[in-house]
């Protein structure tokens, strides 16, 4: 599938991925994240079940301490 991840086009072999699978594929290891798929917030407890498919727009924001 082809998606837009953080405004950048990306391609994956799978036709569908869960959020957890995407994070693993991209080695996003940070724990504090905010994730939106097509503009909708995906809560932490949904990461194992929420799916991403072809043409989806995904935002992954890493939160780091400081402020």
């Amino acid at each position: 599938m082809k998606i837009i991840l953080n405004n950048t086009p990306e391609e994956f072999d799978q036709a569908i991925m869960t959020v957890n699978e995407l994070l693993k594929a991209k080695t996003f290891t940070f724990k504090m994240l905010v994730i939106k798929i097509n503009g909708s917030l995906v809560k932490k407890d949904e990461y194992a079940t929420a799916t991403i498919k072809d043409n989806d727009e995904v935002m992954v924001l890493h939160l780091v301490s400081g402020g």
């Binding site: 504090m32 905010v34 939106k36 917030l41 932490k44 924001l61 939160l63 780091v64 400081g66 402020g67």
Partner: protein
């Protein structure tokens, strides 16, 4: 491409000119028009530390109508290397102390200071009527909590977050990006630590960028 002026007889100073040049939008407003617009707006600032205090002061200077400030913490001397407080305020609770700072600068700003550690219930209750919310927390888990709360409860409300502001230099890494109503300022990478402390210049850049984003949102035609 200049748009048609709908009131051709009006004086230039009373007309908002809005034209595009490639991807940039230039929007001319007089000081008086800016003041009149900002006077009607309310901004919620979650956290009165490095980001929150500097952002609040910048907005107060330009004449924002109302600021809602929230922080549970107390001013300490080690904060002064980046937070907009004074030596005489060490020991005072941050939210009311910041209110006093603001009123020394611009007494016409209405300020409500909440001495509270924000949780989802408080965020929803205090910030429900804000035009824009500024995220200015320190801890990543608190940032996550606030962002998730606001995106769920107030998906239409602009939220301006500050992420990644540690250290010094590295100016080219500080950026702004937007996704829906979520506006992100910072380098999104540097975490504060013993060897990478937060310092006034870089913190100030991100905090003022947040204030500048607020203005961009509020002064839209």
């Amino acid at each position: 491409m200049l748009p048609q002026n709908s009131c051709p007889g009006e004086k230039q100073s009373f007309v908002n000119l809005y034209w595009t040049f490639q991807d940039q939008k230039y929007h001319a407003m007089t000081s008086a028009e800016i003041k009149d617009r900002l006077k009607t707006k309310t901004i919620g600032i979650a956290g009165c530390g490095g980001l929150g205090s500097n952002c609040a002061v910048a907005l107060a200077r330009v004449g924002i109508g109302t600021l809602l400030l929230a922080d549970f913490d107390v001013v300490s001397e080690s904060n002064l290397n980046r937070q907009y407080f004074f030596l005489s305020q060490v020991g005072e609770a941050k939210a009311p102390a910041l209110k006093r700072v603001i009123h020394q600068i611009n007494p016409s700003v209405s300020v409500i200071a909440y001495e509270v550690k924000l949780d989802p219930e408080h965020i929803i209750r205090y910030f429900r009527d804000c035009d824009v919310i500024v995220e200015a927390f320190d801890q990543a888990d608190q940032k996550e909590m606030l962002i998730e709360t606001v995106l769920s409860a107030f998906p239409e409300k602009p939220l301006v977050v500050g992420v990644g502001l540690a250290g010094w230099g590295m100016n080219q890494d500080i950026h702004y990006r937007k996704t829906g109503n979520l506006h992100i300022c910072g380098d999104e990478t540097t975490e504060i630590s013993e060897s990478n402390p937060p310092l006034a210049p870089r913190v100030g850049v991100v905090a003022n960028m947040q204030a500048n984003v607020v203005l961009e949102i509020l002064l839209r035609p």
